[in-house]
Amino acid sequence: MDHRSDAERDTSASASSPGSTSAPPDRLPRAAVSFRVNGTGYRLEEDTRLTLLDALRERLGLTGPKKGCDQGGCGACTVVVDGRPVLSCLMLAVQAQGREVTTIEGLATADDSGPDSGGLHPMQRAFLRHDALQCGFCTPGQIMSAVCLIAEGRAGSDEEIREYMSGNLCRCGAYPNIVAAIREVAGAGGGDRAGV
């Protein structure tokens, strides 16, 4: 990845567009959008139908956010926009105009990179320690929600963690270990530095 953090990178795509349509590709409505992802500025000019999720995955190569249900029910696509967790599958890319997006790829910062960190955020390390995943498909979304949950002071009890994490489904059923991982980071005072 290119880390010119202040340079705006133009990733305007070729004629490809999501989905099929009867209209010729060059006639499809397009719109421009500029936003920042994990600290890097981007400018896209794309088919208006492109979701933020598809923009991240297909245009920017950030495949951490996953396409699960694609209708707002599973949370696998959770990313952080201006400090709050949202569903990137239900947001058009153009709606991210001027916003700051963080994906799992941008979660760990220099602060986290102690000798034993492996370049991972404390929540990522806790998920590993507690075996809080099986297949791993939901994990990026779980971790993004979990980090925000602690930053918002909502990890006071297992019950509270379960309620505020209910927008992230895990079909492998790793819930007990997910709760344990979050509880550990919350208990370690993760709220001070877990924000994104």
Binding site: G19, S20, T21, A23, L28, P29, A31, D47, T48, R49, T51, D70, Q71, G72, G75, T78, V81, R84, P85, V86, L87, L90, M91, L92, V94, Q95, Q97, S145, C148, L149, R162, E163, Y164, S166, G167, N168
Partner: protein
Amino acid sequence: MAVTVRAFEYIRATDVAEAVAAVSSDPHASFLAGGTTQLDLMKDGVLRPHRLIDIGALPLGGVTRLADSIRVGALTTMEELAAHPVVVERLPLVRESLLLGASTQLRNMATIGGNLLQRTRCGYFRDPTVPACNKRLRGSGCAAVTGAARPHAVLGVSDHCIALHASDLTTALVALDATVHVEGPGGPRSIPLAEFYLEPGETPDLETVLGHGELITAVEVPLLPVGTRSGYLKVRDRASFDFALASCAAAVLVEDGVIRTVRLGLGGVGTTPRRARAAEDLLRGRAPTPRALRAAAKAALLGAVTVPGTAFKVPLAERTVLRALQAVTRVGS
């Protein structure tokens, strides 16, 4: 089955009048706010706008405290309203209806104006491969009346539609006599929430009194008198993040052992958010005895019309009302 989202032109509105003009002049244009219902139904192929007018950058956010009410800008998110100090202190039923109404991610995206206009979860409405849906196409029939009906409505239904109104928030707001402020091609107007929704009758496709191009700008919510106890009880299939099978927004002020004011909203059972006025009338001026609460709960469901799949909802909703009333009248809690 992959449905293709219809291609649409996207416009970022920069002022309210421009947005209203753009939508009202084009029958195929729609407003876009949080988009959580709009985009979902576009992916399903139910909504196929040719043009979306994004109102997200308009100055319609924020909560303003007025003398005896709050004015909630239409673009305030569910999460912002739930966290507002006045709502926390004076409108617990609103806060609870929001927190129980969606996942954290959806609450961060979905706006209050959009919440009022969210569409039904009826699976037949949301699946265009089902030909019979009077809400999608007037006169095409209703697959729900004879189909799987567990999530459907029992109050305000017609032979033409039993689709459930899905919002939790409106259940609380209708109990509070909220008012919807609207800007339209003919100028602004204000509509009591109780008169905002239309029962399906013979025209299930018409859900509100809004004309095409009218834009919700704010919702005004009266505050409860100090000392009122209120809450929102929601019963659903899952423990969290699910739509209501039955719900009740209750606000009660008891003085000297007598119910002085009572407000009851019913959710999960109606084609529109319901005010349980008959139940309120039975309680006002009475002591909150177990017998009085039970009678009120029964009265709340009078007039229910069920199909085999929805018959369970009547006793479930009665018990939901009863439990909600018990919670806000219990002495010493």
